[in-house]
Symmetry: C2
Subunit: 201 residues, 2 copies
């Protein structure tokens, strides 16, 4: 599979990937209260996938999961981050991201571009144990960060508790022990007023 | 291996890990010229390990490599980051990091704490194909970022070209095709004056 000529493309791709550190997300980091970026978020998912591996309910291949969470947001290098609860800006997102993927993965040697694109597509489809486990981490991590920053994003955008439960549904299948934690954080969040913008409008 | 009671420790550990986003390194990110943090750096190593996998000269287990690069700097949560070329502050570093590891990994259920500690120790020893490949990525990534930020760290701390070559030596064994790239970046860096602080003092 190795193509020595492909090394240049790999380096060029890695340099482009460095810009993931400049793509801001909506949620905050816990201590600094600074907005998280895509690189930080993706690392947190690796950390979570490693830490919670024994709690995965389906048989998962951790190597594939770690690859998936590492690359799952790369298309945002060209397509930008769209907030999960922003239904308007989510229109046309799939098309924009497919075009971004064409542009990004073609920097790489073909074997590698194809591999990463397939992992990204599988992640988005959530139709395999690996992608469900990866997606569960992707839902849980911002939920935890939102809870420990007094519901920052939920308050800012008026997100409903039920929307958070719905978005985290894959956790039920992938990491059932964590579903209880999701329910706890949402219930506690309600009690503490972290959803007041939505619930009191 | 699963211990349901261990879930609380896992979550507490993940919350602590979020602070990796606040530990600044010496090198800059390429576009923003902002100092990189440990979480961003670790994600970049995952990205590099995935991208350059086919160029690894020894047979490596990518799952273990990805775990290693994800956790390799975690002890800095308690021990702080020490600049690679700062020989004075590197005295006593091993002891400080071992104490930090005791503190950090004991938050986790024992099976997981032991696993991550062993991976971190193996990474540091560089005595297996997996740890050599992981360490090669750990050396290459800041080298690339330094080159594309006009030798920022090299200039700021007066680092010699030979010190960079020496620090990157593991690349020769682990990713020989990248060794030529290391030599190229160092030679070009010299030509462009990125080592002038060391060479002209």
């Amino acid at each position: 599979m190795k193509e020595t000529n492909g090394l240049k493309g790999c380096i060029e791709f890695l340099i482009k990937c460095d810009d993931m550190k400049d793509i801001e997300r909506r949620n905050l980091n816990i201590s600094s209260r600074r907005r998280e970026n895509d690189a930080e978020h993706s690392w947190s998912l690796s950390m979570m996938a490693i830490t919670l591996y024994e709690f995965a309910a389906e048989k998962v291949n951790l190597e594939r999961v770690l690859k998936m969470v590492t690359v799952h947001d790369l298309v945002e290098l060209y397509a930008g981050d769209v907030f999960a609860y922003d239904s308007e800006r989510n229109i046309g997102k799939a098309q924009r991201e497919a075009e971004a993927a064409d542009k990004l993965f073609s920097i790489l040697p073909e074997y590698k571009g194809t591999e990463l694109r397939q992992l990204w597509e599988e992640f988005d489809r959530m139709d395999t144990p690996d992608s469900r486990y990866a997606a569960a981490c992707d839902r849980l991590q911002p939920l935890i960060n939102n809870f420990f920053t007094e519901g920052h994003t939920w308050q800012q955008y008026g997100v409903y508790p039920d929307s958070v439960l719905k978005r985290n549904e894959v956790v039920k299948t992938a990491i059932p022990d964590m579903w209880k934690v999701v329910e706890y954080f949402v219930a506690e969040g309600k009690r503490l007023g972290y959803f007041d913008k939505a619930l009191k409008k």
